[in-house]
Amino acid sequence: MATEILMPALSPTMEEGTLAKWLVKEGDTVSSGDILAEIETDKATMEFEAVDEGVMGKILVEEGTEGVKVNSPIAVLLDEGEDADSATVESSQPQQPAPAEKARSSEDEPAAGMDHPAPATPAQARKLEPDWPEGTEVKQTTVREALRDAMAEEMRRDDTVFLMGEEVAEYQGAYKISQGLLDEFGAKRVIDTPITEHGFAGIGVGAAFGGLRPIVEFMTFNFAMQAMDQIINSAAKTLYMSGGQMGAPMVFRGPNGAAARVGAQHSQDYAAWYSSVPGLKVAMPYSASDAKGLLKTAIRDPNPVIFLENEILYGRSFDVPVMDDFTVPFGKARIWREGGDVTIVSFGIGMTYALEAAEKLAEDGIEAEVVDLRTLRPLDYDTVIASVQKTNRCVTVEEGFPVGAIGNHLSAYIMENAFDYLDAPVINCTGKDVPMPYAANLEKHALVTTDEVIAAVKQVTYR
């Protein structure tokens, strides 16, 4: 019986890739371990080996084809003596479970006849694209490229900016964020470190005290826990402890939060942790333009900035303006979608769920206003409050743990500052209160889901 050879996933987050080259042709006999093809992902080119033995029957995807989805058949492997056209094919295509229908509840009707005070400053409808002048040419760019471009531009602009971290130079970045930087800036400014987070974070802090502008890359923020003392006690607090004499103008950056199937120790969102510390600034972009504009701002900032990226977003493309010097200010949220029925506040990869939920809710006639905080310290409270004053309802969305979440803080702030405008309690959609499990179904369940956001919106809008 013939077997389909499927497009392999070569990294935890790979969704598609390029079939760069076939190393076998139809009719060849292969045995397990033989290299069949070269597959290119956005991170690397990798060789793909045969698992079974047999004869290459039909090649279904020509070499050079881009965007081949993971798990789609790329060739058929025949048993000895079997004919390619008549073979019955055994498919190992995984079955995607259909999303469960959410039960709707019509309980808890809103109290009738409640009046809201008029906002002191009327809620201003923000322009949806406030970050670059109208008519600016835009280019589809991945978050990965945007981050690299931001670093390269700032390194060209300021000789004291340098990048250090594990595998940032010769390997070209564990997630290819620093691709090409070694070639352009040399080993003096793009520095591979040993695996020694506490040590190189501390060296980065000292270098910042000494007049440089370090960008310290953590391969992931999970590893930054080894360096936590230097980040918090040395980088964040020195300006205050020195009465303003010296501080640490530097950026700590890297992927944060869950990737895919990498287990509890590699899947934590630290947004709320860092955001609780005075002296740090915290940025957590969603789009490529924000990744670029905020990283450039972060590198120029005279304070330590925690720059939280997301592995799953690295490969996503967004419009990025073609401008000589495009920056995004800290402390200014972006409204991605206007609406009058509910405010959905999110940031980082949480925006994926927020925007998807808003699309689906619109089909049901619920217009959500979606606010991307972009930076968590400083946090754009005014935009959140103005939106809540308009919609009278709020749902927050993040992947982090539920206890001590950013959403908890926002709920408290909204309660203190816009209580009379609320028609329903604020709901926080967060990751679940569990260490991240490995099993695919459990992991999906542990993270916040679009369905949960939709259900929360329906609850606060009493639909």
Partner: protein, 342 residues
């Protein structure tokens, strides 16, 4: 005169002028009297929290400062008053920081463990044991990157010498040839735990060999031996040869901090060190025996120092407490407000 020993490695005394010797005497005495006064003010409730006195260890910082040049940097732990005075920071500003007043180096917001001076290239004052070691390597990294011909003195104790980040810093400092002198002030007790009770490899400087960093042990009760070793270490760094380790054997007469039960060593042990090995007495004898100074000259110096310390104490008492607005300043270099609630 009690017999004095110097280790074989540092037996060769550097040439030193009478003026220099007098200067070391003054500086060491300033630190001692300053610390005694700080102890008094602590007892009076004018200084609070943690206060770690440097009494007994004065020759370490004075000897190394004698080997330093303008622009060289220094960073240390929380037992930092001596380092600040030795690098020329104003005793008034240091004492006023101890009392938590506006006139302190950190406007009263740092305290005993957290003072800094950009002008004197003093980078703290760090309260977490060992954290200053990678920071010191980082300061040296900056100098090398910028092409400055400067050296960073990174001080830490025998206690910190068991922290992992020290060895992370050693590894990178040697890998990148950073101009940093790692100064281990081995006062033999990490808080109340003697070196014998904390490690079976008590020769701390030898650990550098694992990373290729040369070093040596130095008699820390002999300011001239410290200076000579410091000059050697600095020359190594300035020649671009990377880091150097000095393990300076010293002794703290007072407790770890102000609340020390003093159960971990005998009174006799402390007494013996004070009588036989005191660094200030040593220089005093050199001055008198070499006829570089008379008893009267030294008395005059004592009087000057006393006046400086009293003036610092008066300033520290009279300087007002910081204005309440200071609570909210210096959090961000660009002062972005971050109010959690309106």
């Amino acid at each position: 005169m009690a017999a004095r020993k110097t280790t074989a490695k540092t037996a060769a005394k550097p040439n030193v002028s009478a003026e220099e010797l007098l200067e070391y005497y003054r500086e060491m005495l300033l630190i001692r009297r300053f610390e005694e006064k700080a102890g008094q003010l602590y007892g009076m409730g004018l200084i609070g929290g943690f206060c770690h006195l440097y009494i007994g260890q004065e020759a370490v910082v004075v000897g190394l400062e004698a080997a330093a040049e303008e622009g060289d940097k220094r960073v240390t732990s929380y037992r930092d008053h001596g380092h600040m005075l030795a690098c020329g920071m104003d005793p008034k500003g240091v004492m006023a920081e101890l009392t938590g007043r506006e006139g302190g180096y950190s406007k009263g917001k740092g305290g005993s463990m957290h003072m800094f001076s950009k002008e004197k290239h003093f980078y703290g004052g760090h309260g977490i044991v060992g954290a200053q070691v990678p920071i010191g390597a980082g300061l040296a990294f900056a100098d090398k990157y910028l092409g400055n011909d400067r050296v960073t003195f990174t001080y830490f104790g025998d206690g910190a010498a068991n922290q992992g980040q020290v060895y992370e810093a050693y590894n990178m400092a040697e890998l990148w040839d950073l101009p940093v002198v790692f100064v281990i002030e081995n006062n033999q007790y990490a808080m109340g735990t003697s070196t014998k009770r904390s490690t079976k490899s008590p020769s701390y400087w030898e650990r550098g060999a694992a990373y290729g960093i040369p070093g040596e042990e130095v008699d820390g009760m002999d300011v001239l031996a410290v200076k000579a070793a410091g000059e050697k270490a600095v020359a190594h760094c300035r020649a671009g040869k990377g880091p150097y380790i000095l393990e300076i054997k010293t002794y703290r007469y007072r407790g770890h901090s102000m609340s020390d039960p003093a159960k971990y060593r005998t009174r006799e042990e402390v007494q013996k060190m004070r009588e036989e090995r005191d660094a200030i007495e040593h220089v005093r004898e050199l001055l008198l025996q070499g006829k570089h100074a008379t008893e009267d000259d030294l008395k005059a110096i004592d009087k000057d120092i006393k006046a400086i310390v009293n003036e610092a104490a008066e300033f520290a008492k009279e300087s007002p407490e910081p204005a309440l607005d200071e609570l909210w300043t210096d959090i961000y270099a660009d002062e972005v407000p971050q109010e959690a609630s309106a």
